[in-house]
Symmetry: C2
Subunit: 246 residues, 2 copies
DNA sequence: TCACATTTGTCCGTATGTATC
DNA sequence: AGATACATACGGACAAATGTG
């Protein structure tokens, strides 16, 4: 891809504060290819030796570039014969991992997260009510039924309850809302693995979700929003003092 | 810290899906120290050779661990005599960058982005009006002045105009709002590089920003929201039909 | 101004662990 | 079980950057 020795590449005379390192350029280059669609999830990047030949850099440099792509959620690296760097899209997982760091470092409080989540979902609800079609409604109902089923088996339906909000976001028809809600749900999901489960609360949530769904069916925005305002802060409360428990 | 060869360390018989790699353990170890407060922003980690001695691993392994910490926003690495890995706290920036990746990977349309942005900023405005202090107001005013200055010199004040919204987000006091707005602005900034600049519109924006700031000073939420509803879609229009041209 | 020391950046060669066939 | 292909990790070396005497 680049036969010119990267070492000796030209620099603008007004040097940027930090001269770019080779592994950064390599990772940026590969990332561009992925975003452009040259590689799709499931595809394999060339092996490290092959990449080091193509970019005309050492294997160590390639490895550092791959670390960046791996942590960013663009690839996963598998060892062994047919292993290598495989394209994935776990970027939202990376976002949530980064958010967890932010919470541990007290840059974001559970309150911040809960407040923001409530506001975003309230705003989003208008689009849900406008654009949700029959299959969205059906998906939400199925989710509630699955949650009930799990609860009856004695399994706290965390996963299903969080999934409800993802389906909601999808039903808004706006992918940007989905990205935001999905990443916040990923963090909350991470929290749930660290606190003692509360079966009763999780069961109660199912009822509220059913009420929200009913409001959506009636296209009653005000009612839906009131339900969210009651529902989401309740969940937020459970995360108080969570920053420490890591 | 660990004199036993890391290669041969014990493994639980019930296989973890993916055996942890040495550089992951090293980075996790260092991260723990930072979160615990053993290192504070401004402090320097030991040099790479010193770390490789302490952890009893090769320098390459240490470097890959440092890459992770760097991308996660825990350290920044400087070359040279008194350089090295310096503790910083740019985790929020890491969250934003990761969100930008997610947005770009999902090829979110300018329309979805603009719609979502309007809703988020409207919701956020309530917190801005409640919590913005004198220094926030001052920051916003300075930003407007800088934009005017640039415009008078004939430079389209894109950067400043986008920065206005970042300052707004910061003034909300909620860092979750901030990372969301920050990443949306980064994507919009990227859009701007792909369309012909329109000097008049950019200049017009400055006036609207001043009106918004005035509304904030008067703590007039309704007025501020009306201004946002007029302002943001205008910017969105400029990117219509842009999604293909990438 | 210039040499010097320190530290990161990059390269090469080699050995080993791991997964597939 | 053996061969193969790959990532992982190690060691040594030199280049480049950057502050200091």
């Amino acid at each position: 891809m680049n036969s010119k020795p990267l070492e000796t590449r030209e620099r603008n005379s007004f040097s940027p504060i930090k001269t770019k390192r080779v592994f950064e350029e390599v990772s940026a280059e590969i990332k561009k290819s992925i975003v452009r669609g040259a590689f799709k999830p499931g595809d394999r990047l060339p092996s490290e030796v092959e990449l080091s030949r193509q970019f005309n850099v050492s294997r160590q440099t390639i490895r550092e570039a791959l670390r960046i792509l791996e942590l960013s959620g663009f690839i996963t690296v598998q060892r062994g014969a047919v292993g290598g760097a495989i394209i994935v899209d776990t970027i939202l997982k990376s976002v949530s991992e980064s958010l967890v760091d932010a919470i541990q470092m007290r840059k974001i409080t559970p309150d911040d997260l809960s407040t923001c989540r409530l506001e975003v979902e309230k705003a989003m609800m208008r689009y849900v009510i406008s654009y949700a079609d029959a299959s969205d409604i059906q998906g939400l109902q199925e989710n509630i039924d699955e949650a009930k089923e799990a609860a009856e088996k004695g399994i706290p339906p965390f996963k299903q309850n969080l999934q409800f909000h993802r389906i909601l976001a999808k039903a808004s028809g706006n992918h940007m809302f989905f990205v935001i809600v999905d990443s916040m749900m990923a963090v909350i999901s991470d929290f749930f693995t660290r606190i003692p489960p509360d079966f009763d609360i999780s069961k109660g949530v199912i009822g509220v979700h059913q009420e929200i769904l009913d409001a959506i069916k009636e296209k009653n925005l005000d009612k839906a929003i009131v339900l969210l305002e009651k529902h989401i802060p309740e969940i937020g409360h459970r995360f108080r003092g969570m920053a420490d428990s890591a």
